[in-house]
């Protein structure tokens, strides 16, 4: 009897909740005076097996500077970074806390392997926009509520394919992929797009590399197939192992092109002479280029605030910068609706750190960063090979 009564009470409570719209899309603090802070959120992997702390740290540096200079119309930005711990349940919880409980007006500088995949429908439902600092999983590029500032692994791969076949003019281009989660189709889209654009086909398309695989059989396979350019999407340790095996097996005369992931100082150090000639694709103005004028503000800010100089940091900086500029342009009270409206009607924004303008707008999916700069390891340092942006002329479906 008690059990069934409890059930009735529970279902009544559920009904009430649904009827009053106390669901997920509600914004708690409707009236915000000039004294209140502007709450901006982020859902990033700060702990767990793969972490991306630099993006939100860089975004925080931007917001702190804005606050020190008087904020937005006198209102300070309060930056709420939630840790998704690399765990889907924690990611869902983190997003609901930041958006529903804390009442963030927008999300900026998130960097996570699973935030988009888990939370994209929720963001769309809650009417909030996310200016993603680093989008990795395909959902980041396929949601009306999310527009990443970075290129992403798939367009990155398409740019590499284009660079290998059209700029380096190789006929035999080979692709080795480690497929994590649901990324195979997205990579497939990049390959199809490249084929449609150039009429060329891959000599080898091997998607069976695993993070803990010994790279030796794959490297030998590439050599046996006569590959002139080999594209690989390995993470930092995977790319290091790959290039060490290349050196060990004395494979020469092949151009090895990596995505953005291994473009780090740590990889340059760990590989040393073994990495000579390795290419990578920088999603933003290459951060290792000390003389670049485009990097001046970013570099000074990051150094002053002790944020590591990495590609992820560039993503966070850009996301925060785009948000601040948009917030400054809003007439009237800054609410979630106002911010979302501003981004849904945003005109493309140019920034010297990226090759193509940042877009949001009303589109159902966003992939505005369509350019990269190719860098190469020479003498243990990353050098910029293409001072001009390599813009991908095709589109991904």
């Amino acid at each position: 009897m008690t059990g069934s009564r409890a059930l009735v009470v529970l279902s009544l409570a559920a009904l009430l909740l649904a009827a009053t719209g106390c669901g997920l899309a509600d914004e708690p603090a409707a009236s915000q005076g000039p004294g209140d802070t502007i709450k901006v959120g982020a859902v990033s992997s700060l702990s767990g097996p793969v972490t991306f702390p630099d993006s939100s740290a860089a975004a925080k540096a931007v917001f702190d500077r804005v606050n020190e200079q008087g904020g937005i119309g006198g209102r300070r930005i309060e930056y709420l970074v939630a840790d998704d711990k690399g765990d889907p349940a924690a990611a869902a919880q983190a997003a609901r806390d930041v958006v529903t409980n804390q009442g963030a007006v927008a999300l900026a500088g998130s960097a996570s392997l699973l935030d988009c995949a888990v939370n994209a429908p929720f963001y769309a439902q809650a009417g909030i926009v996310s200016i993603q600092g680093t989008g990795v999983d395909p959902t980041c590029f396929e949601s009306p509520a999310i527009s990443p500032v970075n290129t992403g692994p798939y367009l990155n791969m398409a740019i590499n394919l284009y660079y290998a076949s059209e700029v380096l003019e190789h006929d035999k281009v080979c692709l080795f992929l480690a497929i994590l989660g649901n990324t195979s189709d997205a990579y497939g889209g990049a390959v199809r797009s490249w084929t449609a654009l150039t009429g060329k086909r891959l000599t080898l398309d091997d998607r069976t590399v695993k993070p803990d695989s010994d790279p030796t059989p794959f490297v030998l396979r590439a050599r046996n197939a006569g590959c002139q350019a080999v594209l690989y999407n390995g993470t930092e340790p995977m790319a290091i192992a790959w290039m060490k095996v290349v050196k060990q097996q004395k494979v020469t005369g092949v151009d090895w092109l990596m995505t953005t992931a291994p473009y780090t100082e740590a990889v340059a150090r760990a590989l040393g002479a073994d990495g000579e000639g390795t290419y990578a694709n920088a999603e933003f103005e290459p951060f290792t280029d000390a003389g670049s004028a485009a990097l001046k503000d970013w570099r000074e800010l990051m150094t002053a605030r002790k944020v590591p100089l990495t590609s992820f940091g560039q993503g966070g900086y850009l996301a925060a910068t785009y948000l601040v500029e948009t917030l400054r342009g809003i007439q009237g009270p800054i609410t979630r609706e106002a911010v979302t409206r501003a981004f849904k009607t945003l005109k493309p924004v140019r920034h010297p750190l990226v090759g193509t303008p940042y877009e949001f707008g009303p589109a159902a999916k966003h992939r505005s960063n369509r350019a990269g700069k190719i860098v190469q390891l020479r003498g243990g340092r990353w050098e910029v090979v293409t001072p001009e942006w390599v813009r991908y002329p095709g589109t991904l479906d």
Partner: protein, 285 residues
């Protein structure tokens, strides 16, 4: 085909050496020590931290091996002190906890930034069928053979081996007979930790060197040990080699390549079914 086999030789040596360590530990301490690869990884990262601080490789590597030994001795001390009377399942469960603990601790201490890992055996030992075999491969194979031979001698020819076996199989009886085995058991744990670090020092420079990937070398090592039923040293040696060679061959086969990583799991499953066949059939009758 030959090229595939040769390219899997180094992996085979690795699996065999780790599989033998598992087998030896099971026979001598009645524990399937699933943390053995992770202990080796800790040694590798200690070496990396020391070389980065400017120590020469030899000294840093020795310190890495010592760190592996020390960590393993710690794990062994826990096992001997609190789980001596526990059955194999309990002790294996404890080793899983130790595995997770070591991985978590290693991430906290060393982070996930790639390290500079000098390769002590990167020189070419031979070049066969277009595959360069580095010195790491014969070194691993020799290490595996030594491990197998050494454990066999320890078990069959020494009083210490006999005591350790007694301790592993009948811990309470052994203690009641007044045979103290705690200290030699901890020393044995330390030795296996040091050896695991040695294996990983040879392997880590040419594999994806993140903590998790390297610690998970325990999966093929388990498959290798299971080929010998966790008790036969020769089985673990041959099983490890066969798994490595199979992986190398399958990577070159267009049709079967996708299933390459399933090989250790399929092997474990088949071996378990084969070893359990009598129990099931007898029960059915």
């Amino acid at each position: 085909m030959l090229q595939g086999l040769l390219s899997g030789l180094a992996a085979g040596g690795t699996f065999a050496a780790l599989g033998l360590l598992l087998t030896a530990m099971y026979r001598l301490t009645a524990t399937v020590n699933l943390a053995v690869a992770a202990i080796g990884v800790a040694g590798v990262y200690v070496m990396a931290a020391l070389t980065e601080s400017g120590l020469p490789y030899g000294v840093a590597a020795a310190a890495g091996v010592a760190a592996g030994a020390l960590l393993s001795a710690g794990c062994g001390a826990v096992m001997v002190r609190w789980f001596a009377a526990g059955d194999a399942q309990t002790r294996t469960a404890v080793s899983i906890a130790q595995l997770i603990g070591i991985i978590a601790l290693a991430y906290i201490l060393f982070g996930d930034t790639p390290r500079v890992l000098p390769n002590p055996a990167s020189g070419a030992a031979a070049e066969l069928a277009g595959v360069v075999i580095t010195w790491a491969t014969p070194a691993l194979l020799a290490l595996a053979a030594l491990l197998g031979g050494g454990t066999h001698l320890l078990l069959t020819r020494t009083p210490l081996g006999l005591r350790l076996r007694a301790m592993a199989e009948r811990p309470v009886t052994t203690e009641l007979l007044g045979i103290g085995t705690r200290r030699p058991a901890v020393v044995l744990w330390a030795a296996t930790g040091g050896l695991a670090a040695l294996v990983l020092l040879l392997v880590a420079p040419v594999r994806s060197s993140d903590i998790l990937s390297l610690s998970m070398l325990i999966v093929p090592a388990c498959a290798a040990a299971l080929v010998g039923g966790l008790t036969r040293l020769s089985g673990a040696l041959l099983g490890g080699l066969a798994l490595g060679l199979l992986e190398g061959v399958l990577a070159g086969s267009a049709a079967l390549r996708e299933y390459r990583d399933a090989v250790p799991f399929a092997a474990i499953l088949l071996i378990l079914m084969w070893t359990r066949r009598r129990e099931v059939w007898d029960a059915a009758r």
